[in-house]
């Protein structure tokens, strides 16, 4: 296999074949928690992707330096550092998003997608491949959150690009009464379950295992 095809595989694996949400069902806490609005879902996805890419690169470049006995605490410190960085940067420059994501930003630390990639990939593979892997899994995670949040926002609020009333587009006019259930936590489970079913059918049709 040429270098190039390895990189392409590293990139696409996280998006479809090992999509962290729709295939592996990892990191579901933010998936269910922040997907009431599309912007929040995608914002969460991007924040997690930034942490994932940064921690993958750092962990991969430190892998010779970190003894295997203490790798997990080191990984967690690296991940927690980047999460705190993201948390502070968001609070300073994206206050509305920071407010909407709330506790779920600090909770990226315990997102098993990120520690999982550190342990399973970045801790063993070279820096470039870890970077590409991080981007791929990050895109997969962001896509999954985006799709779920889109469904929940349209069904649960009848809007797009909310919750800020200035940017919100009301899809069904002012008299529309949305299905409030989808805006609430139980609705997140139901929407996720429906999407999982749909994607399983699609993956089966396309013969993606």
């Amino acid at each position: 296999m040429s270098d190039k095809s390895v990189y392409v595989q590293d990139l696409t694996r996280g998006i479809v074949r090992e999509n962290p949400v729709f295939k592996l069902l990892l990191g579901l806490c933010p998936v269910l928690g922040v997907t009431a609005f599309f912007i929040n879902g995608v914002g969460m996805g991007i924040a997690a992707t930034a942490v994932l890419v940064a921690s993958n690169v750092v962990i991969s470049s430190l892998k010779k330096f970190i003894p295997p006995q203490v790798r997990i605490p080191c990984f967690i410190v690296v991940i927690a550092t980047f999460v705190t960085v993201i948390d502070m940067v968001l609070e300073a420059f994206q206050p509305a998003l920071h407010e909407a994501l709330g506790i779920f930003v600090p909770l990226i630390v315990v997102n098993c997608v990120i520690l999982g990639r550190a342990e399973a990939f970045a801790g063993k593979q070279p820096v470039i491949r870890s970077l590409i892997d991080g981007i791929g899994v990050g895109i997969g995670f962001t896509l999954a959150l985006g799709i779920l949040a889109f469904v929940r926002e349209v069904a649960g609020h009848g809007t797009l690009m909310g919750p800020d009333p200035e940017s919100a587009v009301y899809l069904f006019g002012p008299g529309f009464e949305p299905m409030g259930l989808f805006a609430q936590p139980p609705g997140a489970f139901i929407a996720l379950g429906l999407l999982l079913g749909i994607f399983n059918v699609i993956f089966k049709k396309l013969n993606i295992k």
Binding site: A36, L62, F65, I66, P67, Q69, V70, P73, C74, V77, V78, A80, T81, T84, V85, M88, V89, E91, A92, F93, P95, P178, G180, A183, Q184
Partner: protein, 284 residues
């Protein structure tokens, strides 16, 4: 032994690098965050007080009040920063009143009420009914303002909290008379009054003797709410102790308190079920 030292030094090094990076970034972002928070607050102040020149903060009972002045040093009004217990966690809001204590507006800054139900407290429809009300108004559900059906807990909590805040502002800053007792003066005797609970009627028996509130007993209630059952004996005790219906109800059972207070108010408006004996004060 050698190994332990190596392992710990790696951990220490990683942790130190992390701490150094975060400290540096914190110093960069902190002023930005603080400046933005201040700017947002001042913008909110300017919305209500366009002639704002400066303000000074005072803290009363753990809540902060900003007294807003214009260029000549005249008091324009007061902005209170208040938190109260809603249906699902703490509601924080700013309440702006003018120099007469009349409500100019409300901004809910944070809450975790149910989306689509309890979050009506953030809507202008709900908030506008308070505008123009002040110290001399009742600000009482069903009287001059209305709770929103389906979101009674969230809205009743707001109504109660706004009333307390307006009274606080009036008494502390605007020289309204601090009522030593806001118990209406009624004839001695035993009174019964009721209020709607969540599950039927809540009835209290109130005994007035020599102009003092002597005893309050909840004689009928069908509440099943755990908070209520736990806390309702405390509220009558407090009212009797303080000889005031304006008792602090921030105990996580605001609603129970409101219902009991309302029932007591109703009792004092009614005709006594027993005339006071005027003697030993024991009326049973």
């Amino acid at each position: 032994m050698h190994n332990i030292i190596r392992l710990s030094s790696v951990l220490v090094l990683v942790a130190m690098l992390s701490a150094a990076l975060l400290t540096g970034l914190h110093n960069l972002t902190e002023p930005v965050i603080r400046e933005r928070e201040e700017r947002e607050y001042i913008e909110a102040l300017e919305k209500f007080f366009p002639d704002l020149d400066n303000f000074e903060s005072e803290t009363v009972d753990g809540e902060s009040f900003d007294l807003v002045y214009d260029q000549e040093g005249e008091l324009l009004g007061i902005m209170a920063t208040v938190s109260t217990q809603g249906y699902d966690g703490t509601i924080r809001y700013n309440l702006a009143v003018d120099d007469e204590g009349i409500i100019k507006g409300i901004i809910v800054t944070s809450h975790s009420e149910t989306p689509g139900i309890g979050d009506v407290i953030t809507t202008s429809d709900f908030q506008e009914q308070f505008i123009g009300k002040g110290y001399d108004d009742q600000i009482q559900d069903g009287e001059d303002v209305d709770a929103v059906s389906g979101a009674t807990e969230s809205t009743a909590a707001m109504i109660g909290s706004i009333r307390r805040t307006v009274v606080n502002i009036g008494e502390h800053f605007l020289g309204k008379e601090v009522a030593s007792s806001d118990i209406p003066s009624v004839e001695d005797g035993v009174y019964h009054g009721s209020a709607e609970g969540t599950r039927g009627t809540l009835t209290v028996e109130v005994e007035i003797s020599e102009g003092r509130l002597e005893r309050i007993e909840v004689i009928e209630q069908n509440e099943t709410d755990a908070y209520f059952v736990e806390s309702y004996p405390l509220i009558p005790e407090k009212i009797v102790e303080e000889q005031s219906l304006n008792v602090d109800t921030q105990t996580g059972a605001t609603l129970s308190a409101e219902r009991i207070i309302f029932a007591v108010e109703n009792a004092l408006k009614s005709t006594p079920v027993e005339e006071g004996s005027g003697g030993d004060g024991t009326v049973e």
